[in-house]
C-alpha cells in the first residue's frame, strides 16, 4: 500500500532519488531527504513509538518536531523525531519502546 499523493492540483513534486532503508529489520523504501516519518507513513507504518508508562501506540502527530509522539531509534540513537529526521539510504529505523535503549558509548 502506498499512501503518497502523486498528483496534486496545486503542489508539484520534484523528481527525487528512491532509497532503501530498514524498518524493524524489514526493507522499505522512501525518497532521499524526505522526513523519515513520511516514508514510513507512505509505507503504511503508523505505530512508531510505544508510550512510556502504558505501552500505548504512538505515531506521527505534530509533524514539526515538537511533541515526541513519533520518537524512533535510528542506527541505535534513541529519541529521534521521525518527523524531522531526513531519510538516508540504509538507515536502520526501529520502533522506540518507552524511553528506548540506554544511552551508550557510540563513536
Amino acid at each position: 500500500m502506498d499512501l503518497r499523493i502523486e498528483d496534486h492540483p496545486i503542489l508539484s513534486f520534484p523528481e527525487r532519488k528512491k532509497v532503501k532503508f530498514f524498518w524493524e529489520g524489514r526493507e522499505v523504501w522512501g525518497y532521499e531527504g524526505e522526513p523519515v516519518a513520511s516514508a514510513l507513513h507512505a509505507a503504511g507504518i503508523k505505530v512508531l513509538h510505544k508510550s512510556l508508562k502504558l505501552d500505548h501506540p504512538r505515531g506521527f502527530f505534530c509533524a514539526i518536531g515538537n511533541c515526541s509522539s513519533c520518537l524512533v531509534v535510528i542506527d541505535g540513537v534513541p529519541n529521534v523525531r521521525a518527523c524531522t529526521a531526513k531519510l538516508r539510504a540504509g538507515m536502520r529505523v526501529e520502533m522506540q519502546r518507552g524511553a528506548g535503549p540506554a544511552p551508550s558509548d557510540r563513536e
Partner: protein, 382 residues
C-alpha cells in the same frame, strides 16, 4: 479558612506539609496550613530530591538515617494512592582530590559508628556500580545503598492529602502578612484571606523564613542563594545511584521515568532571591556531566530552572523554639537538604510542639547555638 486553630503552619513545602500532618496524626484537632502560592511552589518543587545518609556531621547523619527509615514506608503510612517514586539505589560520591578522599575516610568512619553501612570503593568498584562512569582522575568513591531519591511533588502532596484527611485546613494562595503577639505569646496570624487566632505558629517558610521570623521580632542568620538544575528527555535505564561530587560540585540522578536530573553548585552565585536561569549554567553543566558520564552526550535537555537554598552559617537547619516568643516554632535554614530531612523534622517538630520528648536529641540545632558559638561543621554539601 477557620477563624481559630490549635496551630498555624506557614509554608506548603515538604517541611510545612510534614509538620502539619504529624501534628494532626499526634492528635491535634485543628491545624491550618497557609501557603502563599500552591504546594511545592518554593524550593521543594525545584529540588534534586536526593536522600542520603552519607553526611560528614553527626546531626545530619542521624536525622537523614531516621528520615530514610520513614521514607521506606511513607506512601503506605500516608495512605497515598499514587507513587512517591522513592528509589533506593544508593548515592555514589566521587573523590577527585586527596583532600576530599581523606575527608571521605573520616566521614565513612563516623557513618559506621552511627550505623550507616556506607563503604569506600576503588574507581573500578565504582565503575561496577555505574558502568557509564568515567573514572579518569578519580581517587575513589563512597557508596551507600540505602540512599536514593523521591519525587518531591508526590511526597509533598502525600503529606498534604493525609493532613486533609485528618481534618487539616490546607489553604493555598493564603499569604501570612503579620503575626500578633500578646505578652510575648503568639496570639493571631494575619493572612491575605483573613485572621486566624492560634497559640502556636510554625515557621516553615523556606527561603522566606527570615521574613516570617521578622514578624515575631526574631533575626535569622540565613541567606538565600540560587541553585540551577536541569532535566533531560527520558532515556533507557543506565544510572542506578545518584552520582555526586563535592569538588566538582555536581549531582546527577535518573528518575524512574527515565529523565536525568542534574545540577551544579556555583561558588560565585550572589546571595538573593533571583530564580532565573542562564545559558552559562547549561553550557557548564553539559560540559561537566559529559566528562563524568560521556553517554549523556547525545541526550537532549528538555528544561532548566532554578530554586533557592536557604543557608545557615553551619549548613545545618535551625529547629525548634526561640526563647522569648512563646508558641513560635521554626524549621528553617535547611541549607540544600531539607527535602530529605522533612519526614523526620515533621515528627520532631510535632513532638516539640506537643510537649513530648523529641525521639532524636536536636537541642543543639536551636537558634541559640550561634550565640553560644556552637557551630556545627558539615564538610559534605553541594
Amino acid at each position: 479558612m477557620r477563624p481559630s486553630a490549635d496551630a498555624v503552619v506557614i509554608g506548603g513545602g515538604v517541611v510545612g506539609a510534614a509538620i502539619a500532618y504529624n501534628l494532626l496524626k499526634s492528635g491535634m484537632k485543628s491545624v491550618v496550613l497557609c501557603e502563599k502560592s500552591t504546594f511545592a511552589s518554593g524550593s521543594t518543587g525545584r529540588c534534586g530530591a536526593g536522600v542520603r545518609e552519607q553526611w560528614g556531621a553527626e546531626h545530619n547523619i542521624r536525622l537523614a538515617k531516621a528520615s530514610i527509615d520513614m521514607f521506606e514506608h511513607l506512601a503506605e503510612e500516608l495512605g497515598y494512592d499514587q507513587d512517591i517514586e522513592f528509589k533506593q539505589k544508593g548515592y555514589l560520591i566521587l573523590a577527585h582530590t586527596e583532600k576530599e578522599w581523606d575527608q571521605f575516610k573520616k566521614n565513612v568512619e563516623l557513618q559506621h559508628r552511627l550505623g550507616v553501612n556506607s563503604m569506600l570503593l576503588t574507581p573500578e568498584e565504582a565503575k561496577d556500580i555505574v558502568p557509564a562512569l568515567n573514572t579518569e582522575g578519580m581517587l575513589g568513591a563512597t557508596y551507600n545503598s540505602r540512599d536514593g531519591h523521591a519525587n518531591p511533588f508526590h511526597t509533598t502532596r502525600a503529606f498534604l492529602q493525609a493532613a486533609r484527611r485528618l481534618g487539616g485546613d490546607i489553604c493555598f494562595f493564603t499569604e501570612v502578612t503579620a503575626i500578633e503577639l500578646e505578652a510575648g505569646k503568639v496570639k493571631r496570624v494575619r493572612t491575605s484571606r483573613g485572621d486566624i487566632s492560634s497559640p502556636v505558629l510554625v515557621n516553615a517558610a523556606g527561603p522566606w523564613a527570615a521574613v516570617v521570623a521578622k514578624m515575631v521580632g526574631v533575626d535569622l542568620p540565613v541567606y538565600t542563594q540560587r541553585h540551577q538544575i536541569l532535566v533531560t528527555e527520558p532515556v533507557g535505564w543506565f544510572l542506578d545511584p545518584m552520582v555526586m561530587s563535592f569538588s566538582i560540585g555536581i549531582y546527577c540522578q535518573q528518575t524512574p521515568h527515565g529523565s536525568v536530573v542534574m545540577g551544579i553548585g556555583d561558588p560565585d552565585e550572589p546571595k538573593g532571591y533571583d530564580t532565573g536561569h542562564s545559558w552559562q549554567f547549561l553550557r557548564e553543566m553539559a560540559s561537566i556531566v559529559c566528562r563524568l558520564l560521556p553517554v549523556l552526550r547525545d541526550v537532549r535537555v528538555v528544561r532548566q530552572w532554578s530554586g533557592l537554598y536557604t543557608m545557615t552559617p553551619d549548613a545545618h537547619p535551625i529547629l525548634g523554639k526561640v526563647p522569648g516568643v512563646d508558641g513560635y516554632y521554626q524549621a528553617v535554614g535547611f541549607s540544600g537538604h531539607g527535602f530529605m530531612l522533612a519526614p523526620v523534622v515533621g515528627r520532631l517538630l510535632s513532638e516539640m510542639i506537643l510537649g513530648k520528648q523529641p525521639f532524636i536529641d536536636i537541642s543543639g540545632l536551636d537558634l541559640g547555638r550561634f550565640e553560644r558559638g556552637e557551630y556545627m561543621v558539615e564538610p559534605s554539601v553541594v
